[in-house]
Subunit: 292 residues, 2 copies
C-alpha cells in the first residue's frame, strides 16, 4: 500500500530523532539524552563510542526512563581489512549487534568501509575497490546470520561517492539494494538501507531506487543539508534548510512507500559542534518543522 | 573491433597531453606551450580564459608552429540560468564552439552546470536539480546543431557527485551516455563524453558504461588521482600515482574499446600550482610512464 499524503510536521516534532553525533562535542551521551528530554525529543540514534564512554547499562536505563525510542544504532561496518584482521572485524561487528539488541535499536547502521588501509589500521595499501566491494558483501552476509538471530536488522548506509576511498565503497542506493536483494531475496525484514539525503540527493536514480526499496527496505531516513561551498569533506554538513537539498521532496518519496518512522537528524559540522547544546536541538526542531 | 592490448607508455610520452589548467598558475598560455615544447610534449588541452588572455590568434600560431595536437578545448557549458540569461548562455557556448574550431580541437568539453544560482550569476536560487538536468539536456541539444555545423564534437564530462550543486548536474557516465543516446541515437560522432578518472573511478558501473560508450563516444580521457585525505573539494587533486585510483585498470577498459587518443593530464591542485613549471611537466611525464 502506498501512502498518498506526507506527514505534517509543521507544528509537531513527534517524529524527530537526534543522531547523537550531531551534538557529540557538547557533552557526553547522558547529558545529550537529558537535553533531548528537556526539548521534548522522542527519538535518538546513539553512537557506539558515546555509549561506551558512559556505559551501556546507564544508557539503556535512561532511554527507558525517558520514554525514548531509538531510530538506529551507529554503527557497524568497516568490513575491509587484511585477512589476518578479519576475525577482529567480525568480532567487532558482532559486538555492535549485541549492543544494538541491548538498547532495543530497530536497526544497526552499517558504514561498510572501503579500501582496507583506511578501514582497519595495519592493512596493506590497495587500490582494488572491486575487491573491497566483494569483501564487504561477503561480510555483510556473514554478519546477517548473527544479526538475524539477535533480532537486529542491518541497515546498509550508502555513502556519498566522495567517501569511496576511505569510508564506504557502497556509494549508491542501487548498489546497496543490489546487496540486500542478493542476501535477502524474500525481503524478510532482516536487511535494508539507511537513506541519508546528504549522501544520495545528487543521484538521478534516487526516486526510482526509493520505490524499488519500498517500505520493507527503508529502515532509517537521515537528514541534514549540502552546503555550497562545502569546506570539509566530512565535517561541513549543513542544518536542514541551510543548503541545496530539497528535503521535503525526498521525504515525500520515502513516505510514498509507506515509511512512517523517525526522521533522524545527523549533522557532522565543525560549526554546529561549537554552538550550545540546547540551541542546536532547538534549531533542529525548528528546521524539522519548516525545512523537512 | 576491440583492442586486446594496452598501449605501452613505459618509455614514451607520445600520447601524453597537458591540460593547461594543470600549470595555469605558473605562466601564461604561451609560456606553457613553450615549456611543453621543451619537454617534448605533443598534446595540449587549453582553457578559454588562458586563450583569451594571450589572444587566440597567437595561440593558434604557436600550436601550429610547435607541431602540437589538441586533445580537447575547455570548456563550454554552465547551461543553467534564469530564462532572461539564456540568450547569453547560448551565445557564450557558441563562441566556445567557434574557438574550438579555430584551434582545431577534436572536441569541446562541456561542464554542464548545475543549480542556476551557481551556474550563471544573477539567477534565482533553486533546489530543483531535476529542472536543472532538463535545462541542460535541452541546451546541449540546441548547441549540438551549431557545433555539428562547425565540425566540433561535444564531449559531456560527467563530474563527481560532489559537484552536483554548483558545477555539473551530470554526475555519472550512465547519465551522460543517456543524453548522448537521446540526442544522437545513430552515434554520428557529433557527441560523446570526456571521461575523467577523478570523477568516475568510484562508480561500480564504470567498466560497463565504458563498454556501452564504445570508441565512438569516448572523445577524451583525463587522468589525475584521488588523494586521501582530500582537503579541498575543487583544488586538491593528485598527481597520478599519489592517490588511490587504479588508473591503468581504467585505461585498459577505455583502450579495450579501441580508444587510441591522448591521455590528458588535468590536475587542479593548490600544491602543484606552487611548483616550477618544468618540474610539474617532468613529473607528469614520469608518472604517465609508470602510473598511467
Amino acid at each position: 500500500m502506498v501512502r498518498e499524503a506526507m506527514r505534517d510536521f509543521s507544528d509537531d516534532h513527534r517524529w524527530l530523532s537526534i543522531n547523537t553525533a550531531t551534538v557529540k562535542a557538547q557533552g557526553d551521551l547522558l547529558t545529550i539524552i537529558e537535553a533531548c528530554k528537556r526539548a521534548g525529543i522522542r527519538g535518538l540514534s546513539p553512537w557506539r563510542d558515546q555509549v561506551a564512554a558512559v556505559g551501556i547499562d546507564s544508557v539503556a536505563r535512561e532511554i527507558k526512563a525517558g520514554g525514548f525510542e531509538l531510530s538506529g544504532y551507529c554503527r557497524g561496518g568497516f568490513f575491509t581489512s587484511d585477512a589476518a584482521l578479519q576475525p577482529e572485524v567480525m568480532d567487532d561487528n558482532r559486538r555492535a549487534v549485541d549492543e544494538a539488541a541491548t538498547l532495543g535499536a530497530p536497526c544497526l547502521v552499517l558504514v561498510v568501509g572501503a579500501l582496507p588501509q583506511f578501514s582497519r589500521a595495519g592493512s596493506a595499501p590497495s587500490k582494488d575497490i572491486a575487491a573491497a566491494r566483494a569483501m564487504v558483501e561477503d561480510n555483510i552476509g556473514r554478519l546477517l546470520e548473527y544479526a538475524d538471530a539477535a533480532g537486529v536488522p542491518l541497515a546498509i548506509e550508502p555513502l556519498h561517492p566522495m567517501y569511496a576511498a576511505d569510508r564506504s565503497c557502497i556509494n549508491t542506493t542501487r548498489h546497496a539494494l543490489d546487496i540486500c536483494d542478493a542476501l535477502d531475496p524474500k525481503r524478510s525484514g532482516s536487511i535494508g538501507i539507511a537513506l541519508d539525503v546528504y549522501h544520495t540527493w545528487w543521484d538521478p536514480e534516487l526516486e526510482a531506487q526509493i520505490a524499488r526499496a519500498g517500505k520493507s527496505r527503508l529502515l532509517a531516513f537521515h537528514v541534514c543539508d549540502w552546503l555550497v561551498p562545502t569546506t570539509d569533506l566530512l565535517n561541513d554538513r549543513g542544518m536542514m534548510g541551510d543548503g541545496v537539498i530539497d528535503i521535503p521532496k525526498v521525504r515525500g518519496w520515502v513516505e510514498a512507500q509507506g515509511f512512517n518512522g523517525y526522521v533522524e537528524v545527523e549533522i557532522f559540522s565543525n560549526a554546529w559542534w561549537q554552538r550550545p547544546l540546547d540551541e542546536v536541538l532547538a534549531t533542529c526542531i525548528e528546521r524539522h518543522r519548516n525545512s523537512v
